[in-house]
Assembly symmetry: C2
Homo-oligomer: 117 residues x 2
DNA sequence: TACCGGCCTGGAGTTGCTCCAGGTCAAGAG
DNA sequence: CTCTTGACCTGGAGCAACTCCAGGCCGGTA
């Protein structure tokens, strides 16, 4: 698969994929004879995972560590699991923030409503 | 109230408050005779609102517009309401992303679990 | 054979902070 | 009354995480 296809399959854009690769976040990408990147299904699955980790606010440093472990193979699964469990807590906090913000928004909207009546 | 107090009351940090003020996001702040900022309760409430809007991902350009309307007074409440309703939709999308990411995380964790058994 | 689209790299630009240097001023310690 | 400390000021540099762009290569088509 070429980079544009990997982009639409994973949700990341072409530049972001190149950027991530340069930062070591995308192991195991091969090149065709003329130097173009070729993405396997495994690569695309990995990119898709990165897409969702980023969408939920995982910092790049942690993604980097996660990618490093992934590149090292199955022996690192325990540590990778720990990283994802940690991230799950980040999600919790994000959800709380969203709830909190929704409350504040609704209160504000009520006040506006009252004013506009 | 001085800036450090406004910071701990609103959740924003001191530098962010100054930065927001410079960008026109914080109307109605006065200065003491020696040039230091003095924040009223209204200022602090406004900063707290900004804190939550930012925490839930409102882009600065929209915050700027929102602040501009706020500075213009009550005649702009209808438009301000529209901005917040719009933002509520952004929250929805964020929540969906979080749900989606949680799914993916859980599936991944199950796979790791299986592997580690 | 001339062009076109998709890829490449290296580097500049953007957003939204965050930190720092260098300076002012008020208030308390000695 | 001077000295020091701490909180504040401004302007500007630094940073994270992209995003875009210039300039160049290559394979396929008219």
């Amino acid at each position: 698969m070429r980079i544009s296809e990997a982009a639409s399959a994973s949700g990341l854009n072409v530049d972001t994929i190149r950027f991530y690769e340069a930062k070591g976040l995308v192991p195991k990408v091969t090149r065709s004879s003329d130097g173009q990147r070729r993405f396997s299904q495994e690569n695309v699955d990995w990119l898709t995972l990165l897409y969702w980790l980023r969408a939920s606010g995982m910092p790049m440093k942690i993604m980097q560590r996660f990618a490093e472990l992934y590149a090292q193979g199955d022996g690192t699964i325990a540590e990778r699991k720990a990283i994802l469990l940690d991230h799950a807590q980040r999600l919790e906090r994000r959800r709380d923030d969203l709830d909190r913000c929704e409350d504040i928004l609704n209160r504000k909207l009520e006040i506006y409503e009252e004013y506009l009546k």
